[in-house]
Amino acid sequence: MKRLFAPALGLLLLGGCSGIEPAPHCDMGRVSSQRDLVPGPAMVPDEKSPLKEMPLNSVNITDPAIINKLYVRSISARRTATGTVEVMAQVVNCTDFPLNAEARTQFTDASGAPAEIVSAWQRVHLSPRTIGNYRELSLGDKTVDGYLIEMRETK
């Protein structure tokens, strides 16, 4: 009986591995392990925030409902012809279901303080296993130095 059990278990395990998963491949375990949440006291003026979970110049998925469903593939920023800043983020829907997310951007000045009003929520429709693009423009030109993108599920 024992002799039969071991090969059967091996075959079962191999069978589980042999299925080809279509792209995109989202390794949520790795994404999660790279998060760096540092507990600490309240923010003190002129000091960096102890919360490293929301660094500047990044996309932060703030909604637990989609944190393990979306994967931020790339982020870029550039100056437009008028000097305003254009940020672009590519987001991958890792699920087999359509997803509606929305994002907004807070542009910041050189000191990290908000340089202008936060942008309005902009919807990003993501079909199953597709890449969606989010694009936002700043209002100010020289005053803008950084940005912070928040993303959540559209309710």
């Binding site: 507990p39 437009t80 012809a81 008028t82 000097g83 305003t84 254009e86 202008e116 942008s119 309005a120 929520w121 902009q122 919807r123 936002e136 423009l137 700043s138 209002l139 100010g140 309710k155």
Partner: protein, 209 residues
């Protein structure tokens, strides 16, 4: 016995402290106020506050990235009102809520990169100018000008929609398309265009007033 008591105190303190460090992830006090930039408890298939906030914000930011409008040697004079912004959709709405938000937001954000002409106040200005020139009132402090300010560009646009309903389920779907265009007031050239579109589907349409 004393040690056990001390241990209990330490444990209780640790438990209290750890509780303080957790997020109190409970709903806040109920209020009648809702965020106009997010869909509220009453949702339909028409144009709602979050759509107006989102579309005007998007158009405003896009206009400020266009060199012809926001990087000219002499800031252009722009007219933004609802005179040539038409609602041909099945949504009942006051189109001024779109053009007013766009003008106010753009005027505040432009910071001198564009100038705005209040053509919807032309009558008010003309009356005061007449009173000053007739001598009924004094000339106030600003220097007199030959005429009211003219516009270089004016906003035009259109709101259209496409409705469909499933008679079996009562499900309603509406595609909304809002087009914004900035027109050269000398040549009629369209120097900037923006489009905002979305489709919504719901079981029952709500009543918009």
């Amino acid at each position: 016995m004393h040690r056990v008591r001390l241990g209990l105190v330490v444990l209780a303190t640790a438990a209290t402290l750890s509780a303080c460090q957790r997020v109190d992830n409970t709903p806040g006090s109920p209020t009648v106020y809702v965020d106009p930039a997010t869909s509220g408890p009453v949702k339909g298939v028409g144009i709602e506050s979050q759509d107006i906030v989102s579309m005007t914000d998007q158009m405003m930011r896009d206009m400020l990235s266009q060199p012809r409008l926001a990087n000219a040697a002499t800031p252009p004079s722009i007219i933004i009102d609802s005179e040539y912004f038409h609602n041909e959709s099945s949504s009942r709405l006051n189109k001024n809520s779109i053009t007013d938000r766009l003008r106010v937001g753009l005027n505040r954000a432009a910071a001198g990169r564009m100038q705005f002409v209040g053509r919807h106040y032309a009558d008010m200005v003309a009356k005061e100018r007449d009173l000053k020139r007739q001598g009924t009132v004094d000339r106030a402090t600003l220097p007199a000008t030959q005429a009211q300010k003219g516009g270089d560009y004016r906003l035009g646009g259109r709101i259209t929609s496409l409705d469909s309903r499933d008679p079996k389920t009562g499900m309603m779907q509406r595609y909304n398309q809002i087009v914004f265009e900035m027109v050269d007031l000398e040549t009629a050239e369209i120097v900037w265009s923006g489009i905002y579109e979305f489709a919504k589907a719901a079981q029952d349409d709500i009543i918009y007033r």
